[in-house]
């Protein structure tokens, strides 16, 4: 793919992601917020594709829009009283949230500007799923097992909750 198409695609999906993110916080009806979140997550997946991380992109769609967003929407629709957001949060809360957002944004910008970015050493259209799998089961096998332990705990917790009720 040539530079121009790549750049155009980046701006289209980048813009979509930003619009989705803004809509997620700005929209008034909870379902709309959730749908904007779907847009943001799907656009992020498209950006991963442009970064030639095909496996991460596909898993992002499969897990986030495929499972998590559907569960989220399901839960939202089961709570009809909560569909309309309260008009405004208390002023103190708004101030604190703005402060946290500004600090976080500053940190991210600083990290992006000062980070030692590594240039690509492998061709960018190489498949990523096989190297990822090998890395997870050799170099990073301990963190990988740790994460599965966390999931197992979550599973057992869900079972316990379901049993008691």
């Amino acid at each position: 793919m040539s530079e121009a198409i790549y750049t155009a695609a980046f701006y289209v999906f980048g813009l979509a992601a930003v619009v989705g993110a803004l809509g997620t916080v700005a929209a008034r009806r909870l379902i709309h917020n959730a749908l904007f979140l779907v847009l943001a997550l799907a656009s992020a997946a498209a950006l991963y594709v442009l970064l030639s991380a095909d496996f991460v992109a596909v898993v992002q769609i499969l897990v986030y829009t495929g499972a998590i967003m559907i569960l989220l929407l399901f839960a939202l629709m089961l709570t009809p009283q909560q569909v309309e957001l309260p008009a405004t949060a208390p002023a103190g809360q708004q101030l604190a949230a703005a402060l946290v957002a500004v600090v976080l944004f500053g940190l991210i910008v600083a990290a992006v500007l000062t980070g030692p970015w590594r240039q690509a050493v492998v061709p960018l259209n190489a498949p990523t799923s096989a190297p990822l799998g090998t890395a997870l089961l050799t170099t990073y096998v301990f963190p990988f097992e740790l994460v599965s332990l966390v999931l197992l705990v979550g599973l057992i917790g869900a079972l316990l909750l379901a049993r008691e009720s």
Binding site: S2, I31, V58, I61, L62, T65, L73, M77
Partner: protein
């Protein structure tokens, strides 16, 4: 035959050359992709028109009727007439509806369903996108129609549509798990996530012949696939006797037709992906590869229609019990067995031996199922028999 076999790549190569000469490399790539998409979508639309006719005919025969036979020879033009009618219908949007979401939902259903066809290998030399994570891409996009159904049900502002949407969500979340797990044995056997690699790996033996694993994984994949696309007997999302027409009750005209189109595109997707995963994709004697793909897909689609004509709709608890207590354990077992098959090198055994093993497996499954069914029948009939006997005795 050789000429016919690489017909698609020949035409594609020629067209690509012409476009590059006319437009330069960049623009030619884009135009070529757009043309490929157009050709595939046109072909798909024609297939769907034919499939609707075929489904109505087959269902009619199963129910001892004639089916559509008025418009055109054998009623072939019935679907065309129906589409024309849909174009002419009034486009209504309910008063309380969330207009934007209501309008966008059919598009959210249809576009991802059609995007799946970009990675389907039509022949060894004819794939639009030979994606390394092809099967995951298919599974990921296959979740969007459910999202669309859920959202459409909510946006219509009607309790029946909302119920339909809710059912779709629960159904997807439950059946997504066995669906993905049933694909994994094939991935283990082929050693790749790419649909092209998976089909190419079945050059000698189709994966349906993988001892024990093949039939089990295919069964789970096909059943879970049927559930995920809301086809009968899993069509609780639009169960007429309970929630009228479910999620699409408030839709009319072309908006409704888009949902219908997505539904049939999804039915084809499940058939086509099953034929690539388990039935060797383009591999087959005599005929060119792309014809084999179409033929296998069509046959699996007819099986779907057959199932629709035979089985009654499942009850809600049965639907969930089947996913979590039936398909999930079977899928897990077949995944473990797939690793064993790979380690034993069983795929290189003689095909007739593999066929024998699998016929045995299918027979045992059949026996087990009929025994189970009979036991259930006896259990259900026991109190009645008891009562009847008491009547006789006294």
């Amino acid at each position: 035959m050789a000429v016919l076999n690489d017909l698609l790549s020949q035409v594609g190569g020629w067209l690509g050359g012409v476009l590059r000469a006319l437009l330069g490399a960049d623009l030619a790539t884009i135009v070529f992709l757009v043309i490929s998409a157009g050709v595939i979508l046109t072909f798909l639309a024609a297939c769907i028109t034919l499939a609707i006719w075929a489904e109505r005919k087959v269902i009619a025969r199963i129910q001892d009727r004639v089916g559509p036979n008025r418009v055109g020879p054998f009623g072939l033009l019935q679907s065309v007439a129906d589409v024309l009618k849909l174009f002419a219908k009034e486009d209504t949007i309910p008063g309380g509806a969330d207009r934007l979401v209501f309008i966008l939902a059919p598009l959210l259903a249809v576009v991802p369903s059609l995007m799946i066809y970009a990675v389907l290998p039509w022949n060894w030399d004819a794939v639009v996108a030979r994606l390394d994570v092809g099967i995951l891409y298919v599974l990921a996009l296959a979740t969007f129609p459910t999202l669309a159904i859920l959202v459409a049900g909510w946006a219509s502002y009607n309790k029946y549509t909302l119920l339909g949407g809710m059912r779709a969500a629960v159904q997807l979340i439950s059946y997504e798990v066995p669906e993905v797990l049933a694909v994994l044995p094939v991935v283990v056997l082929a050693g790749s996530l790419s649909l092209w690699d998976i089909a190419a790996a079945q050059r000698a033996v189709w994966f349906i012949l993988a001892p024990v694993v093949g039939p089990l994984a295919f069964l789970v994949f096909f059943i879970a696939g049927l559930a995920e696309i809301n086809r009968s007997p899993f069509d609780l999302v639009e169960a007429e006797s309970e929630i009228i027409a479910g999620f699409h009750m408030e839709y009319s005209g072309m908006r409704w037709a888009l949902f219908f189109l997505a539904e049939y595109a999804n039915a084809f997707t499940v058939s086509a992906i099953a034929s690539v995963l388990f039935f060797g994709g383009w591999h087959g004697p005599l005929l060119p590869g792309y014809l084999w793909v179409v033929l296998k897909t069509a046959l699996l689609f007819v099986v779907m229609v057959w199932i629709r004509g035979t089985l009654p709709r499942l009850r809600y608890d049965q639907l969930l019990a089947l996913a979590w207590k039936g398909l999930l354990p079977v899928a897990l077992v077949s995944l473990v067995l797939a690793v064993a098959v790979r380690e034993l090198g069983a795929m290189s055994w003689h095909p007739l031996l593999l066929l024998g093993i699998n016929l045995g497996v299918v027979y045992l499954l059949f026996r087990w199922y009929t025994d189970l069914w009979r036991a259930a029948q006896y259990r259900a009939a026991a109190p009645l028999l008891e009562a009847a006997m008491q009547g006789v005795r006294s």
